[in-house]
Symmetry: C2
Subunit: 208 residues, 2 copies
Amino acid sequence: MHYDKKSIDQLDRVTRLKLINSVTGIKPGNLVGTVSESGHANLAVFSSIVHLGSNPSLLGFISRPQTEEVGHTFRNIRQTGFYTINHIHPEFAKKAHYTSAKFPSDVSEFDACELSELYVDNFKAPFVKESVFKMGLLFKEAIDIKLNGTVLVIGEIENLIISDKAFVNGDIDLEESEGVGISGLNTYYSLKKIDSYPYARLNEIPKF
Amino acid sequence: MHYDKKSIDQLDRVTRLKLINSVTGIKPGNLVGTVSESGHANLAVFSSIVHLGSNPSLLGFISRPQTEEVGHTFRNIRQTGFYTINHIHPEFAKKAHYTSAKFPSDVSEFDACELSELYVDNFKAPFVKESVFKMGLLFKEAIDIKLNGTVLVIGEIENLIISDKAFVNGDIDLEESEGVGISGLNTYYSLKKIDSYPYARLNEIPKF
């Protein structure tokens, strides 16, 4: 298949949405937990979490243009300053997916999708108890992407709560921790380790 | 394991780098192909490609602060306006990884890592012949992330060259196309499909 710009532009909306949401390759499957000013918990699946830097520890995600009906996650983050990011695992991938339904803001996706709120050390956002890989973030900055009205939401990691089973020889092992990847809008994948390669030094390039 | 901000700050540099590069979960494994003004091809592994929107079709990636010695990808993109993004597959994951060595700018990582340059339809950047999932992008905007000096590089998809084997019932299937995920700085994963779930409608929430 070879699509040029014209043939991409001519695809119908749904075909285009599904295709272009798939082209980056695998995306990390995470649930973002927040609470509104008025105390309503919110949980939403995101596949756009991206590492921005390790010192300080910054993660970003892409928030779509806000409306009254959707986008409670970013609204809550701006109101309270805090959010959690929790890895999805295969045993609750289906529940995680259904957090994407347009629930009214006074309905908690934790309740509707049967996932458990967990509050730790007075951190002002709910973690997902079922996740073995939980992070608490402090909101730092929102950068407008004017090209399409989306927003890059940036936070700094304040808490990392990780099960011992995620570590193999001191490194995170996403096969052992049962991390999940997402392709497109609705397909979930499990992960199988191929190999780890050393830090690539110029004088240590192997024969391939 | 429970790290708070203080214990994250106190980790030694390498431990912290490895840990924080792993926390997002799986990241897409891609090679970005460019050519310099003077005609030198460049190829670099990136795990930060992120979907920004489907209309227009925009992808972003994070470029680290530039120096003379590294960062030829973003320099070339600014010079020429074009780049390619190519999925990594297991059979050349090791070669892809070694493109991260700090080769001088007059050395082509295609040659050094034994991957094949492919030029299609006068597009002004080299594709990776071995990839079954190739994209050509037009540079649109670079947004500075002042919090840590990185840059969000945004491009629009101009070409999609995808093998028929990537499509199953009209959808991209990353298990069939043999997509690769990356965790941290140097661990590569293959993908196994768990399931696809329907678009989540409020009146169709299943019993879990």
